[in-house]
Symmetry: C2
Subunit: 108 residues, 2 copies
DNA sequence: CACGAACGTAAGTCTTCACTTACCATGGCG
DNA sequence: CGCCATGGTAAGTGAAGACTTACGTTCGTG
């Protein structure tokens, strides 16, 4: 499943409409029409967004009779979370170092 | 610090160059010229990107003589992480429910 | 089999935005 | 005080992409 670039996921979530779709899918699976009904854009637009989200590994889909059900992909979201955690950790670390340096200067 | 919209942060990280800047700053503070030196774009472009990242609450800056030092803002990254965690949690929850439903169907 | 519902895709438009060059302001140094 | 380094901003350009309408396809139903 590592064929998905993390870059793709970031770019996918860079669009506001796609973030709305993801937020909706976080509350449970949904069909394309259902998603479009809650959004200010047309159904084909939602289809195109879902294509991007799927390519980024953020959602999965499966056919169900006439309809196509989309759901959030925990793996994709998790990968994003992991990458963000490294930023977070290193940022905190650097922040701590900086504070210590400042304190040393102030006390010295 | 809640004046920063989480939306801004997602949109800011939607750009590849800005992600490279963030990754660089995660390894420690840097001046504009230093950042530009490690990137395939001009220095003014980096300045504009930093402006966006700053507006999104992802970085902070302070003057140091002639130079202007930018560093990652733990608060901004943390806010993003929190939001992603809710997606993550709900996605896992839904995934678990789905698995249980499928198992019930298979066993029933 | 004909019809309607649900969906993906093609083609085209229009806005957004990332990038460039040129210019201006500020701070250290001879 | 001239000179260089550093960096923010203005203006213009080109490409990416988000959206629309139109169309083709598949599936269940009368």
């Amino acid at each position: 499943m590592d064929t998905y670039r993390a870059d793709d996921a970031w770019e996918a979530l860079g669009d506001r409409t796609r973030r709305l779709i993801v937020e909706r899918l976080a509350r449970g699976p949904a069909a394309v029409g259902e998603l479009a009904a809650g959004l200010p854009v047309s159904r084909p637009a939602v289809s195109q967004h879902l294509k991007v989200l799927k390519a980024a590994g953020l959602v999965t889909d499966h056919a169900e009779a006439n309809r196509r059900i989309y759901r959030l992909n925990p793996a994709g979201v998790g990968a994003l979370r992991d990458q963000l955690d490294t930023f977070w950790g290193r940022a905190l670390e650097n922040y701590k170092h900086t504070v210590e340096e400042v304190e040393e200067q102030e006390n010295g």
